[in-house]
């Protein structure tokens, strides 16, 4: 599946520039239907919550959430105009931007809590592992969900922050759902997981050795909502409305963590018994540009892209 995603990304980069955006249509009630492509994970809880709270309706928007299996499917859908907005992590967006894909961020999505040991993502090892801190990960094998993306660059940042040599770490690509089993079997020495697998893994007795998003930058913004430049230019009003509703949703989510946990039951299949143990991401009011520059610098340093793209041009 990973190879397919990679092929998909490559294909999209080659082929997708000329397709124009479809115009969002108004239905009988005067509401504009807007399609948003998201991944059914904890990070996108605010948009589901905001929809339920009627924040999008207030703006005259009728939200249609299209669930996709990964950012690799979302970027082409947004650029070709099949959906107006999409959700992606910022390293993917920076890579896309450096390949001259016409993308524009319209709202933040999720960020690190900034609390060491209490973030929604981190690196786990087995209870009896010789790895005590991020520094010891040098020379070990670490599973990440996508190679050459946000998770391996931030784990390297963690190792560097702890004074270790990040060049020797071996990354293996594994889907999040397969990681804990691989860790148990000893196929890998450590896994970089996010919720709900972090809580599941900790419950099973594994040990957290690094909060890689916290180590990377203060208040790291991890993911956000974006649109294509065509849509942004053709329908500036739509973007303004979506951003307004999204910001209200993020604020509401930040203020009502219990509502966030409850909304998870509607679009994920996370076990209700696990809900209280989940560490929720931070739902920031705005994209932290400094942290974005850090991500861009890491992407260049790790060879994901050749030169850092204009981060200001990506942001609204």
């Amino acid at each position: 599946m990973k190879r397919i995603s990679a092929a998909l990304a490559a294909f999209s980069l080659l082929a997708l520039t000329a397709c124009g955006g479809e115009t969002a249509t108004k239905d009988a009630s005067g509401e504009t239907t807007v399609k948003v492509s998201v991944i059914p994970i904890v990070d996108v809880a605010p948009i589901y919550l905001g929809d339920k709270q009627g924040f999008f309706k207030e703006q005259g928007l009728k939200l249609e959430l299209v669930s996709a299996q990964g950012g690799a499917a979302i970027v082409p859908a947004v650029v070709s105009g099949q959906v107006e907005f999409g959700f992606s992590n910022f390293t993917s967006l920076l890579i896309a931007k450096s390949k001259n894909l016409p993308l524009k961020v319209v709202a933040p999505g999720a960020g690190s809590t900034g609390a060491q040991g209490k973030d929604f993502g981190g690196v786990l090892v087995k209870a009896d592992s010789p790895v005590k801190t991020a520094k010891d990960l040098a020379g070990k094998s670490v599973a990440v969900n996508t190679l050459n993306n946000i998770n391996d660059t931030t784990v390297r940042a963690s190792i560097k922050a702890a004074g270790g040599d990040a060049s020797g770490v071996k990354f293996t690509e594994l889907a999040f759902p397969d990681m804990l089993a691989a860790l148990d079997k000893g196929d890998v020495d450590a896994v970089q997981v996010v919720e709900p697998f972090l809580a599941t893994g900790l419950k099973a007795g594994n040990r957290l050795v690094a909060s890689n998003y916290v180590d990377t930058a203060p208040n790291l913004t991890i993911a956000g909502y974006f649109t294509s430049e065509q849509t942004a230019e053709a329908q500036p009003e739509l973007v303004t409305k979506f951003t307004a509703a999204m910001q209200k949703s993020l604020k509401y989510a930040a203020d009502n963590p219990d509502a966030v946990r409850q909304i998870l039951l509607t679009y994920t299949k996370i076990d209700a018994a696990l809900l209280p143990d989940l560490t929720l991401p931070n739902f920031p009011a705005e994209v932290n540009k400094d942290s974005l520059d850090t991500l861009a610098a890491l992407a260049v340093q790790d060879g994901l892209i050749e030169t850092a793209p204009d981060t200001a041009g990506l942001l609204p």
């Binding site: 092929a7 998909l8 492509s37 669930s67 099949q82 804990l180």
Partner: protein, 270 residues
Amino acid sequence: MTADAPGRGGRRHRPLPAWALGALGLAGLVATVEAAPRIGLVDERYLPPFSAMAAALAEQTGQREFWVSLTETLRGWALGLVLATLAGVALGLLVGALPPLRAALTSTIEFLRPIPSVALIPLAVLLFGTDMRSTLLLVVYASFWQVLVQVLYGVRDVDPVARETARSFRFRQFTRIRTVLWPTALPYAMTGFRLGAAVALILEITGELVIGSPGLGAQIAVAQTSGAVAAMYALVIVVGLIGVAVNAAARAAERRVLRWHPSVRGEAVA
């Protein structure tokens, strides 16, 4: 699946009927899946016992989402299979009946046929985004070749005497297709249909799983990303059951359409 027990035991032991043996095999599988995690052969967290899967399945069936997804999957599968069958039979007869066309297209068909449908996912997403049409494209592409190639073989299998006879009687092209080509090609087309039915289901689920178009496959993916292992296996069981049903239905259709054919007449009536 089916057991052709010849009744080796002689007069005293009546062999178990095929359905009973089938049920026995299934019961064995259920018992293994129930026992393996319980006795610690596999970790319960990664392969829960069958009872846990059944409980998760019962919970799923109480949700509207499950039935909507099931309908989406069946609809995508059926639509894809019908389109592929119609196109495969029509093109197969046309190409098969016209030797120059056949000669011109054989290499192209042999080139296109082995391309795995999943390799077309980027193209499908580009054309149709993540909605059901993307998956439909994969389904049609994969099952189309199954039908087409079978029909091509079928047309080639026409008895030369029958063909010459039709020619001697100066049958019109359409009559020739109807009375000579079609009856010969039909058993092949039905085989293609049956193979296509299974392939279509596989691609329907794969498309939903990878692209995220609505259906049971997408639900499986959501269960995976939610760490809901039992719920995921519950859905996998449903897909397996659909597979069994699809195969049974295709076989029944085959028997019905080909009841005059020696291959079916020779088969014991189940």
